[in-house]
Symmetry: C2
Subunit: 236 residues, 2 copies
């Protein structure tokens, strides 16, 4: 009857414990040996489970010490799974300019919606990211109401939407697609970012795919890159 693989069950067990705070960020997991006892298996299998968690960015291993729980900030293209703000490596203050509310889908979304999404209303909210008290990124977010329901911002874990999804709903980001364009600022964008209409800004459209069936997160970011360019690094 059981079809799931043993290493996957162990992997999911540990992942859930990390997501629900049983193993806080910075702490060490129990040793591989003790997992072997707990699950009546061998190190090969336990190590396979831990390898997968490492690939997913939940832990890192330290030779001679143990497996340490990481803040999940795995790079995903320009952005990170920790949140939209991850692309900017300065101190960022976030101001919610439009509270989450149910609306129709915005036709400006750069990706084609699934049939399920088209049948659903969507939840929309807007935020502005500030660096040194100057607005730098204007950010629109959408997701399907049917797939998740409305999440009120006062429920945000540490103010982060992605952290809330992971820790409260056990939803993880699985992948993303994005489009980048350089455009002149419209009057509205310019007003929000405190710049002049027509200034060059970076427009990033992104779709995050999640581990919950039918749930995608859509984002539309307008970045003033004049003082704070978007930076990131990659390693193979």
């Amino acid at each position: 009857m059981k079809k799931t693989k043993k290493y996957q069950r162990i992997q999911e067990y540990i992942k859930k414990r990390i997501q629900t705070g049983k193993h806080p960020v910075g702490s060490y997991l129990p040793s591989e040996h003790s997992f072997c006892h707990q699950f009546n298996t061998t190190r090969t299998t336990v190590r396979k489970a831990l390898d997968e968690l490492m690939k997913e960015g939940f832990i890192e291993k330290e030779h001679g010490k143990g497996s340490k729980v990481l803040e999940r900030r795995k790079s995903l293209g320009l952005l990170t799974v920790k949140g939209f703000s991850g692309a900017i490596d300065y101190e960022v203050k976030t101001i919610l300019t439009k509270e989450p509310k149910v609306t129709d889908w915005d036709p400006s979304i750069a990706f084609s919606l699934t049939k399920e999404e088209q049948k659903s209303k969507c939840v929309y909210f807007q935020r502005v990211r500030h660096i040194n008290d100057k607005p730098v990124v204007l950010e629109n977010n959408w997701y399907s109401l049917n797939a998740l329901g409305i999440i009120t911002p006062n429920k945000f874990v540490e103010g982060s939407f992605f952290k809330t999804l992971s820790q409260e709903y056990l939803i993880e980001i699985m992948g993303a697609e994005q489009e980048l364009r350089s455009i002149p600022a419209t009057k509205d964008i310019a007003h929000n970012l405190g710049i002049s209409k027509g200034n060059s800004i970076l427009h990033i459209s992104v779709r995050f795919r999640t581990s919950r069936a039918g749930l995608n997160l859509y984002g539309d970011l307008y970045c003033n890159t004049k003082e704070y360019p978007i930076r990131n690094s990659y390693f193979l």
Copy 2:
């Protein structure tokens, strides 16, 4: 005496054979079993070597069939290790507008050079990428003369600089850093891209780190994203 790990030796052996064309793209590697005989080891070790090659993007596995050699096009941020053009998923024609030549370093490079690089002259060349016979990306490239020497474009493998590095020099890309800015086109850029001065374009500065000590590849890309936005996807 021997310090290298067995799986690493197997990994390097197979990688070299892929890079030198002994296992062409699309073909299947010998079976895990046969590698076990060849290296007098067990499948665990062979599989570890193949796992690493999979992570590096050289192969993929097909259950019941074998390990297939891939065209190495692993995504690296916006770009790909196959080449700068990888960020644009249309048919791209490349025109070499300035042949590789030895010059001083351009102060416009967005990254700080290493001491070694500062002591060396650099090799510079410029290309323009066309889509549907329209110029879309203007690309400046630099690297340290001392670290590699000058590579003449008629030696480019299939016209690709990165393929040349991999197949002729066994140099692989290890990582990259980049900065993105939205800027108005200068007169020179506008001229090269056939647009008007002041139009919004995307400026990408990138440094690729390679497996050869002291060799970084610097790139400066000016992209007209009006008709062809930069697209990419990621999976965790």
